[in-house]
């Protein structure tokens, strides 16, 4: 049993970089990852921008040390998970009880959609290798097998809050004494399935997204993976370095309003943030930075903003949506943004909310517009909300 759970390692890949240091550089330069869709084959390539990881599957496979025929989801997951584990630098890793708790929403859909085109014409055709890893859990398993982890391996899929839930589920496995160390987070690759799905909902901005701006027009999709290495108190003491931060609070609440839309009162977001604060024993004024879910859709930002107003007003912490850099990486976003939140605590930095111009009419706060260094960042709140009303907030605190 471990009362506290610490973050000992970080790994991330997204449209703005292939590892942690490239992400920090992109943030400092204010360089967004969105562009014309280049790697995904879609009729919307020049119409809808997205933040793709700027690598072919073959290049990713080389980095991951995996077969290039595997789902892009598995390749992205492997690269970030391995970076996180190497970063944690746990010398006796293989003698510890280890877990891999990952999350995704698409699984091997990038391959399935190629398979399905042939399969639809003749259900005896189509290369079975393209669907053998269709399931979300298969993607997790491919990576767990490579990493040699088998004590606790599982997958969570709660839409865009998936990997935030994976992180705190893994933390609970450590707290309950099942594990000493866990790699936790999530991944999603860009697929035609999700691109078209979000397009039918008419929430994709044709330009680069403007989260929390009065004139926001929707979200940009992204892809990537983000993982943290969580360790027990005992393991933290044996590390070769100081842990980055502590996971001090978490809460999963449901909006219970609509399958895809968020409630105007921001009920789910409010309960998630409030519950996470309660668990951490912190007050709203203790939070130094909120990494907003901030998708850039009219509905999310209004709902999340209202919840922030209810909980934090009139004294607002600094806040921003890093989706203005990475796009919305769906099942990966909670993991990717957990990495950003932990880095904010570690380095005393705050990320800019790119392209923000006009405050939302009824919101008495403004997101941060510049990259800020040398800040006092003791506690960061990270929000991840999704379809199905699934709302999760995590709090990372300085150690």
């Amino acid at each position: 049993m471990s009362a506290n759970v610490y973050i000992a390692g970080l790994g991330v890949i997204s449209g703005i970089g292939n590892n942690v240091s490239e992400h920090l550089a992109a943030f400092e330069k204010g360089k967004a990852g969105m562009a014309d869709i280049t790697w995904l084959k879609t009729r919307y390539a020049h119409e809808i921008p997205a933040a793709e990881v700027k690598q072919t599957n073959a290049q990713l496979a080389g980095k991951a040390g995996m077969d290039a025929g595997l789902s892009r989801t598995a390749l992205l997951s492997m690269i970030a998970a391995r970076e996180a584990l190497a970063d944690a630098d746990i010398s006796n890793f293989h003698s510890l009880r280890s877990g891999f708790v990952s999350a995704n929403t698409v699984g091997g859909m990038d391959k399935t959609e190629d398979f399905f085109a042939e399969f639809m014409n003749d259900n005896a055709s189509g290369d079975l290798q393209q669907v053998v890893n269709h399931e979300c859990g298969s993607v997790t398993e491919l990576v767990a097998n490579e990493l040699g982890i088998k004590d606790q391996v599982t997958t969570i899929s709660t839409a865009c809050s998936s990997s935030a839930n994976a992180i705190f589920y893994a933390a609970r496995l450590i707290k309950n004494g099942f594990l000493d160390v866990a790699i936790a987070g999530g991944v999603d690759s860009l697929t035609r399935f999700t691109l078209n799905g979000f397009n039918t909902l008419m929430i994709l901005d044709r330009h680069f997204c403007k989260p929390f701006d009065e004139n926001r027009q929707g979200l940009n999709l992204g892809e990537g993976a983000g993982y943290v290495v969580l360790v027990s108190e005992q393991v933290a003491q044996l590390l070769n370095k100081q842990p980055y931060a502590r996971l001090s609070g978490y809460q999963n609440s449901n909006d219970a309003y609509h399958q895809t839309a968020s409630s105007p009162e921001g009920t789910g977001p409010y309960l998630a943030m409030k519950g996470a604060l309660k668990k951490s024993g912190l007050k709203p004024e203790d939070i130094d930075y909120i990494n907003l879910h901030g998708t850039g859709t009219a509905n999310n930002d209004q709902s999340e903003g209202t919840a922030v107003k209810r909980l934090f007003g009139p004294r607002y912490p600094k806040m921003s949506s890093t989706k203005s850099f990475t796009g919305h990486t769906l099942g990966a976003s909670g993991g990717i943004e957990a990495v950003f939140s932990v880095l904010a605590v570690k380095h005393g930095i705050i990320y800019p909310n790119l392209r923000f111009e006009t405050p939302m009419a009824d919101m008495p706060f403004r997101p941060v517009k510049e990259f800020l260094k040398g800040q006092t960042v003791n506690h960061v709140l990270s929000n991840s909300f999704g379809f199905g009303g699934n709302c999760t907030s995590l709090i990372f605190s300085k150690v």
Binding site: I156, F193, G197, L201, A256, L271
Partner: protein
């Protein structure tokens, strides 16, 4: 560990839902694909919603609601769901239209309902339940992960009543694909003689089971869940046997203390042979029953096994499952040893109240 099973509800290829007498008339199937028997949903779901929902959503929501009713719980403290494949029907609809219509003029409905957390989300929406809501999607451990989460929530005192369960559906497309992986029998087979079929492959199934679990004893509990463990991959029957022995020992039990063992036999020649190899040295033949001839094989079939175990331990009766056996009032302990594709093993231990 003591987790009280307040209710257990199943929709399966057998008449398991509602007031049906406990597996009184076993339905025979002669094709290797068993379809879940859908109940009349009218008393569970708004008629307008029923039409819009795919089968997995309808089944899951109805079983969840009935499970709450049986438990006498209006509002659970958490909803935790497992599904290996998720909402395949809606996924297939959106995927095929996207391909046929070359990414144009698509309707969002199937996409919206295709996300893996739809069943859990729809339950929350209908109940207006703002509490913890999670969905696990880990192949043959999807249900076990949900169960583990539910147990932890109770132990952490985050919840008193947790609604947990699993749902998986089989579609024409998924059956066709899985059949090409040679998972199912190629010849007609009666599910009633599944374990005598002596051929490769199993029979496909689908279904849902939901439970209300509590950390406190109640007046009408079905039984107590006293242990859960999973292990992924094994080196052979010796390891399986050792893991079972260790699991039982950690619960202060040995093999002779178990009144009934529910195994994951599924009619596949190799699978069943391997099960015999660890089963025979450890347990007696009269301790054993199997269930996959009733439910068919699917990644969350272990939820059917838990439903079955809970019902058996409550009623002290084994319905015509295995003719030679009857249980007595002294039946106290049931062990489920499930396997899926010989890679995902789970152990669940139940005690009578």
């Amino acid at each position: 560990m003591k987790v009280y099973i307040r209710s257990a509800v199943s929709i399966s290829a057998q008449n398991t839902f509602g007031n049906a007498p406990f597996l009184k008339d076993i339905i025979e199937y002669t094709s290797p694909r068993l379809k879940a028997i859908e109940p009349d949903y009218k008393s569970y779901i708004d008629a307008r919603l029923i039409r819009r929902m795919s089968r997995i959503i309808r089944m899951g929501v109805a079983a969840a609601k009935e499970s709450l009713t049986e438990a006498g719980v209006a509002m659970p403290d958490a909803i935790v769901t497992g599904t290996a494949y998720g909402c395949l029907e809606d996924t297939g609809i959106f995927l095929s239209r996207m391909i046929e219509q070359e990414e144009e003029a698509l309707s969002p409905t199937a996409f919206i309902q295709s996300t893996h957390n739809t069943v859990g989300a729809q339950i929350a929406l209908m109940l207006q339940c703002h509490q913890y809501n999670n969905t696990f999607v880990h192949k043959g451990f999807s249900f076990e992960s949900a169960l583990q989460d539910a147990i932890m929530l109770l132990q952490e005192q985050e919840a008193t009543n947790v609604l947990t369960g699993a749902a998986d559906e089989l579609t024409d497309a998924s059956y066709a694909v899985l059949n090409r992986f040679n998972l199912y029998k190629k010849e007609p087979v009666s599910n009633l003689s599944l374990y005598q079929s002596a051929s490769p492959g199993t029979i496909a199934g689908e279904g849902t089971a939901f439970f209300v679990l509590s950390d406190q004893p109640g007046r009408h509990d079905l039984g107590v869940l006293t242990g859960l463990q999973t292990f992924y991959r094994h080196s052979g029957p010796t390891e399986v046997s050792e893991r079972i022995t260790t699991f039982l020992a950690s619960n202060d039990l040995n093999a002779e203390d178990i009144d009934l063992v529910i195994t994951g036999k599924n009619g596949d020649l190799d699978t069943d042979e391997l099960i015999d190899q660890w089963y025979n040295p450890l347990f007696k033949p009269q301790q054993q029953i199997n269930y996959k001839h009733l439910s068919g094989e699917y990644p969350t079939a272990s939820s059917f096994a838990l439903w079955l175990a809970a019902r058996i331990i409550k009623t002290k009766a084994i319905p015509a499952l295995v003719k030679a056996k009857t249980l007595t009032q002294s039946t106290k302990t049931v062990l489920i040893v499930n396997q899926y594709q010989n890679k995902y093993y789970s152990l669940m231990l139940l005690s009578a109240i």
